[in-house]
Each structure stands twice: as structure tokens, then as C-alpha cells.
Amino acid sequence: MERQIINKRKRVFSLQPNKNPNALFTRRYVSHLVPALKKINMNKSSSKTNHQSFEKTVKHEVDMAFALSAQEFAWSRFLQQKLLSSPHDDLISTSSSPSEILERSSKKQGGEKHQDRDEEGGEIKKRLKELQKLLPGGEEMNMEEILSEIGSYIVCLELQMIVLKSIVQDNTS
């Protein structure tokens, strides 16, 4: 009884829950994704069951929901455009494998003794190019914009991860 009272005191909810941007994103994402998945489910029974194309459509819907739920950012608009123009391309591709990155870092350690400053500028530019490839719409942004957009992109990716995990876990357990 006491514990309940204590817990009640601890419970403080915000007056405006809708303004929390992370919750906002997740709510939008869920509201986009779930009906889309339901639709796919319904259509699947009618159309041919091609596993690969089915995967692609699911992926497409996932990306679409992602792009639609974060309208404030430039990358989401770019992503939307890409998705609408070419719906079945492999959008999120791993451009550089982890082995490449390891190579680069070892090179950097070796070259550090020699030209420090010169190498550094080039190294940073290389990495920025990589980042540009990863971020949707990154090709057309300069360094500052990339840095600011990447922050929001990462957070939204994490939130998307949480949603997808919970959906998957819901249905496996």
C-alpha cells in the first residue's frame, strides 16, 4: 500500500505528451507501418507468393514509413523522393564493408608519424564522402548540413529499430 503511494508520487506525466519529438516520431512510424503491413498481408493472399518480391515490398513499406514519419528533416524528403521514383531498388546498401574501414584506420595509424596535417584533411574528406553515401540526399549537402542531418538520422534509425524489434518480438513470443 505504501509502495503504491510512493509510486504514485513518482509518476509524473508530461502535460503535452505529443510534443516529445521521439515519441512523435515513433507514433507516426507505427501509424504508417502497421496499416501498410496489414495491406500487404491482405494483398499477399491474392497475388503470387514470390518471397523475394514480398520481402522487397515489406522493405519498401518500412522505408516509406520511415521517410514519412520524419518530415522535418531534409534526408526524409530525399528518401521519400527516391522511394517514390524507384520503388524496388535496394536503397539502404552497405557501401563500404567493415574490412575497408579497418584498412583505413590502420593506414591512418601508420601514416600518422609522417604527414600528420596533410593526411588528416584527406582522411576526413574520405570519411565525409562515405557519410554522404550513407545518408539519403547526402550527395547534395555540404559538410555542415551533413553533420546536422546525421544526428537526426541516427536517432530516427534507432527509434525505428525499437519499433521493428517490438513488432517482431510481439509475434515471435
Binding site: K19, N22, I101, S105, I124, D170
Partner: protein
């Protein structure tokens, strides 16, 4: 309290025949007063202690930021560290409006006899005790000469720096008041003061701010130093996340036929999982305001939710807990454009 200091300042600076030594003494008095005031009003917050330390070292840039925070404190806004380096404009205009009179008179006097004043200052500099101030005045006169040819707003800043060579508060207040849409960067000692390098420096500072913000977000960035290493980590992390999204969507595609999806159900459970991470970490939740720059109005105080709310979903692995912790971590920097 601030107005008292300002009025004293305006009175003393109106009389131009005050010698440099007297001005030095007066400024030291000012600083002492400020320090006293700050120490009285400081509530052991680390930022104010910083102010005290840096007052002694006469570090211009930090003084600027610390003074803005001090102004916020004095006006009763309270230390608002999460607001970043953008001080509220009304606050500054209130205090700096008193600065306008001495600035104007000084500007007029300067424009009439600029060279003679420069020579006079150089002559007066001999009895000066401190050599550091001497170097500063030299540099400031150079600044004045350079900026005299540029626009009026900037030349005001340069002039006030040279004329009130030891009273930094007036120049700072004037520069803040003039043309608030310019980004004012104070040149440190020994650094170039032409417009290009100033702009460069402002740009670099913006970039480093953003890098710090990313460091908070991306886990594991603290161990690596330097831009390249951090960018590496960020690239790795983004790739990781993207791969995981792919994997999960594939899994979803596999499961899809058996999905029992009810929208309300999913959202409720998802939020439980979502908040369970945060509750498990037992931190107070304050979401980053700068993440959504269009949504600056929202006050985002979401306190800890009742931990009794048990969820059927297990908390994910440790790595995920830390990541979602970082989602909610307060970062003191804001991206104010």
C-alpha cells in the same frame, strides 16, 4: 545590480581625459565587484565557477559566453544551460541599452581624431605597468584601423574595443546590441582578425559543436579522439543501424503472414518497451530540443514513468539499453542557427 555597474561605467567613460592607468584601476575594481557579485549569487554551479576562473585570465570569448549566462542569471531567468549559447535577446538589450551613450560619444570622438588618439594612446602607454594590456591595445588599434574601412556595425565593434581598451563589458554589450543577425566572434590574442579568418573560425566552431553533439549520440565515440576517428565511428554506427533495419524488415517479411497486428496494441506495447529501457536506466528524461529544430517551442519534460508498469517484453540487451539511454541524455549544446 547590473544597472548600477553600467551607470558607473557610463559616467566614468564619458570623460575622455581619464588616464589609462586610472581606467585600468577602475576596470579592476569592476572585475572585483563582478566577482563578488557572482560568488554571492552562484549556487555552486560549475558554469559560474568557470566564470570566476576565466575572469582572472581575461579570456575574451569565454567572457562573452559567461557574461551572457551571468546576464541571464541577473535578470532572473535562471541558469538555463540547455539553451546553449543563444542568450535571450531582451535580456541583452536591456543591459546594453545603457551602453549606447558612451559608445556614441566615443565613436564620435574617435572619428574626429583617430590618428591623434592612436598616437596619444601610444604615448600614454609608457607609464603602463602591465605589458599584457599593452599588447592588447596594440592589437586593438590594429583592429580598429582595419575595421574602420568596413561596415558601420562592425566598425563600431572595433572602435569600442580600441577606445574602451580595458573595459570589455561595454564593447561586448555594444557589439551584442548592434546588428544581432551577425555572428560575433571575438578574436583571441595573437590570432588573425580579418574577416575571412573570423568567418572561418565561426564555421569551425559550429562544426565542432555538431561533432560534440554526435559524440553524445553515437555510443563509443568518447574513446576516439579527432575528427577522422569519430567520423569512422559514426559511419560504422550508421551502417550497423541500417543493416539491422534490413535484417528486421526481412524478419518481419518472414513473419508477416502470421502477424496479428492491432494498431493500438502495437503502439501501447511498443511504448512500454520504449519506456522500459529508460526506466531501467533510472534517468530523468529530458529530450533534446535541438533535435527537431522546427519544434523549438515544446517544453519537453517527460519525467520517469511509474516503474511498476511491468511489460511483457523483455528489456533488450545491454548495448540497446545504452543506446536508448543516449537517446534521452541531456546534451547541453543546442543547435541554434
Amino acid at each position: 545590480m547590473l544597472e548600477g555597474l553600467v551607470s558607473q561605467e557610463s559616467l566614468s567613460l564619458n570623460s575622455m581625459d581619464m588616464s589609462v592607468l586610472e581606467r585600468l584601476k577602475w576596470v579592476h575594481q569592476q572585475q572585483q565587484q563582478l566577482q563578488q557579485v557572482v560568488s554571492h549569487s552562484s549556487n555552486n554551479s560549475p558554469e559560474l565557477l568557470q566564470i570566476l576562473q576565466f575572469h582572472g585570465s581575461n579570456n575574451d570569448e569565454l567572457l562573452e559566453s559567461s557574461f551572457s549566462q551571468f546576464q541571464m542569471l541577473g535578470s532572473g531567468f535562471g541558469p538555463n544551460y540547455n539553451m546553449g549559447f543563444g542568450p535571450p535577446h531582451e535580456c541583452i538589450s536591456r543591459t546594453s541599452s545603457c551602453h549606447m551613450e558612451p559608445v556614441d560619444t566615443m565613436e564620435v570622438l574617435l572619428k574626429t581624431g583617430e590618428e591623434t588618439r592612436a598616437i596619444a594612446l601610444k604615448n600614454k602607454r609608457k607609464p603602463e605597468v602591465k605589458t599584457r594590456e599593452e599588447q592588447k591595445t596594440e592589437k586593438k588599434i590594429k583592429v580598429e584601423a582595419e575595421t574602420e574601412s568596413s561596415m558601420k556595425g562592425k566598425s563600431n565593434m572595433g572602435n569600442t574595443e580600441a577606445s574602451s581598451d580595458t573595459s570589455k563589458e561595454t564593447s561586448k554589450g555594444a557589439s551584442e546590441n548592434q546588428k544581432l543577425d551577425y555572428i560575433h566572434v571575438r578574436a583571441r590574442r595573437g590570432q588573425a582578425t580579418d574577416r575571412h579568418s573570423l568567418a572561418e573560425r565561426a564555421r569551425r566552431e559550429k562544426i565542432s559543436k555538431k561533432m560534440k553533439y554526435l559524440q553524445d549520440i553515437v555510443p563509443g565515440c568518447n574513446k576516439v579522439t579527432g575528427k577522422a576517428g569519430m567520423l569512422d565511428e559514426i559511419i560504422n554506427y550508421v551502417q550497423c543501424l541500417q543493416r539491422q533495419v534490413e535484417f528486421l524488415s526481412m524478419k518481419l517479411a518472414v513473419l508477416n503472414p502470421e502477424l496479428e497486428l492491432a494498431v493500438e496494441d502495437v503502439s501501447v506495447k511498443q511504448f512500454q518497451a520504449y519506456f522500459a529501457n529508460v526506466v531501467a536506466s533510472k534517468q530523468s528524461i529530458m529530450v533534446d530540443v535541438p533535435l527537431f529544430p522546427l519544434d523549438q517551442q515544446g517544453s519537453l519534460d517527460l519525467s520517469a514513468i511509474n516503474p511498476n508498469q511491468t511489460t511483457s517484453i523483455e528489456a533488450p540487451s545491454a548495448s540497446w539499453e545504452t543506446q536508448s539511454q543516449s537517446l534521452y541524455n541531456t546534451s547541453s549544446l543546442g543547435f541554434h542557427y
